[in-house]
């Protein structure tokens, strides 16, 4: 049964910052995206009374820094800590806070400066530098030469290959489909076409993952404005209604049970579909958290777009392309647009439902968009289902 919160709230503003190699700090990037999102909504900062955000993990009380930059004294504000699942969680929390009467208009966002941070000097050039020293594990990790998110996710891809016969070619089709989308997006970081040969001949990072299985090291931020659906009617943009949401967290860990190949997305999806009163076949476009190619394949299964184990063939069939059965990551995703921990997935979901793209980027007649986010090495998951307002 549909929840009473379904379509009671809407996203009325959405924007991205400059993307790629900006030389900007994570805070400046998010400030830029947030100012643009408020502008996009036709609002002023004075009308924002809630702020929920996140940045690099070494920035303490992140929302305080953002509030100062934006000149907001918020009735409700906090920073989140669910990794890549935080960005959708910010929207969920915004709905809850508004519904509880704590505030009326919430600005949500996330920003990172991964490229600038790792290219500041020749000494700081590995993705390990993105993990604050005090957050690195002290045992059961580095002594075995185990470093980084690529390896964690590659363990899942390997097990999926073993269980279901998934191939590197199939993973490659995820990367290729999203690259095709990026080529239609002038803001996307990746500008060159990608062929299956390019994919297969690229250097290996942590096998089974090679270079093009991995999301980009890029700068970027995104932001959205959440308010009531009633108020949305009188604002500047075509409203995009928050139809449903869900979350689930496999806190017992990535190595436990079959969490690597049947992720928390399955339970999060169920909750979101139930709240929205829809089924997988009703989804017109998916914006999935693509930190690595294999995670897209697992989510296609966990979200019920295909059967368990058939995510590889589904991707290989061309289903993810703009003209496919399920146009997915239509801006290029984290693999080819920019890696902003799922925030740009929300922005793209909103933009597709506004129907303001030129035909070569628009998912035709898109009414429902599904957005996913996961984090903390994929143990936390959240889901957002959006519907085009009247």
């Amino acid at each position: 049964m549909r929840s009473s919160l379904s379509e009671k709230y809407a996203i009325v503003g959405a924007a991205a910052s400059d993307l790629g190699r900006t030389g900007m700090s994570a805070l400046a990037l998010l400030e830029q995206a947030m100012r643009r999102a408020v502008d996009d909504a036709g609002l002023t900062m004075k009308e924002i009374d809630g702020l929920i955000c996140r940045g690099p993990d070494d920035i303490y009380t992140h929302h305080q820094r953002m509030g100062r930059r934006l000149g907001i004294d918020a009735r409700f504000s906090t920073s989140l800590d669910n990794g890549g699942a935080s960005q959708i969680l910010a929207v969920i929390l915004a709905v809850m806070a508004i519904d509880a009467g704590l505030c009326t208009t919430v600005l949500c966002g996330y920003g990172r400066d991964s490229w600038t941070r790792t290219h500041r000097s020749s000494e700081s050039r590995t993705s390990m530098d993105l993990v604050p020293a005090e957050q690195r594990p002290t045992e059961f990790s580095a002594e075995y030469g185990y470093f980084g998110a690529v390896a964690t996710h590659a363990l899942g891809a390997r097990r999926h290959m073993y269980e279901y016969g998934t191939t590197r070619e199939q993973l490659g089709h995820v990367a290729i489909s999203f690259r095709e989308h990026a080529l239609r997006n002038p803001e996307a970081v990746m500008k060159e076409p990608l062929t299956l040969d390019d994919y297969l001949s690229a250097r290996l990072i942590v096998e089974p993952y090679g270079l093009f299985d991995c999301s980009l090291v890029s700068d970027g931020a995104g932001a959205v404005v959440v308010t009531s659906a009633d108020r949305a009617k009188s604002l500047k943009q075509p409203p995009v209604l928050i139809r449903g949401f869900g979350s689930f967290n496999n806190l017992t860990g990535w190595f436990e049970e079959d969490h690597m190949i049947r992720t928390a997305a399955a339970q999060s999806a169920k909750a979101a579909y139930e709240m929205a009163g829809i089924e997988p076949k009703d989804v017109d476009t998916a914006q999935l958290y693509d930190c690595f190619t294999g995670m897209v394949i697992v989510q296609l299964e966990d979200y019920g777009f295909c059967k368990k184990g058939e995510g590889g063939p589904f991707a290989q069939s061309g289903a993810l392309r703009l003209d496919g059965a399920l146009p997915t990551n239509t801006s290029g995703g984290q693999l080819s647009e920019a890696h902003v921990e799922g925030m740009l997935q929300i922005v793209e979901g909103v933009r597709q439902l506004r129907h303001t793209y030129p035909p070569e980027r628009q998912v035709r007649d898109a009414e429902i968009a599904l957005v996913s986010g996961h984090g903390g090495n994929t143990v936390c998951h959240s889901t957002l289902i959006l519907r085009r307002g009247a």
């Binding site: 000494e123 590995t126 390990m128 530098d129 002290t138 045992e139 059961f140 990790s141 580095a142 002594e143 075995y144 030469g145 185990y146 470093f147 980084g148 690529v150 390896a151 590659a154 363990l155 899942g156 390997r158 097990r159 073993y162 250097r203 290996l204 990072i205 942590v206 096998e207 089974p208 993952y209 017992t252 190595f255 436990e256 690597m260």
Partner: protein, 139 residues
């Protein structure tokens, strides 16, 4: 990050000290609930499954299977520059618990999921010994 290439060694906490002390004696120990018998690794203060029991370190067989594995080609740490490509795996011990380790003594391309393995021990440095795994048939 360590730039001089010294191999990283574990920095145990009070709770994990028994694991590393046993490794130094070439034994593999795991925390087991004294009520329900399930293993929990890394340890917590009480059993997360039944919530009743206390966890006690018991010696396990050191035998199990490769649940999943990856092959590092990229050098993330200078101490591993001469080791790539090397295998990091999640090992499912016969007694139940899973742990992260390496598969050694076999070329990376011969490692497979579900391959049977047994524990071996490697002196890293400064008296720290880590358990690794090697195919069961190799002696």
């Amino acid at each position: 990050m360590n730039v001089n290439g010294t191999l990283p060694v574990p920095r145990p906490s009070k709770e994990t000290q028994p694991f590393w002390e046993a490794a130094r004696e070439r034994r593999l120990v795991m925390p087991r609930c004294d009520e329900c018998g399930r293993y929990t690794f890394p340890p917590s203060l009480a059993c997360p499954y039944c919530g009743r029991g206390e966890l006690r370190w018991v010696e396990v067989s050191g035998r199990g299977r490769v649940f999943s594995y990856v092959v590092f080609h990229r050098v993330y740490h200078p101490a591993f520059r001469d080791r790539v490509p090397y295998v990091v795996a999640v090992i499912a011990l016969d007694e139940g618990p899973r742990l992260l380790s390496n598969v050694v003594g076999v070329p990376a391309e011969r490692v497979e999921c579900e391959m049977r393995v047994r524990a071996v021990f490697d002196d890293v440095r400064d008296g720290m010994v880590i358990p690794q795994f090697t195919p069961e048939e190799a002696t």
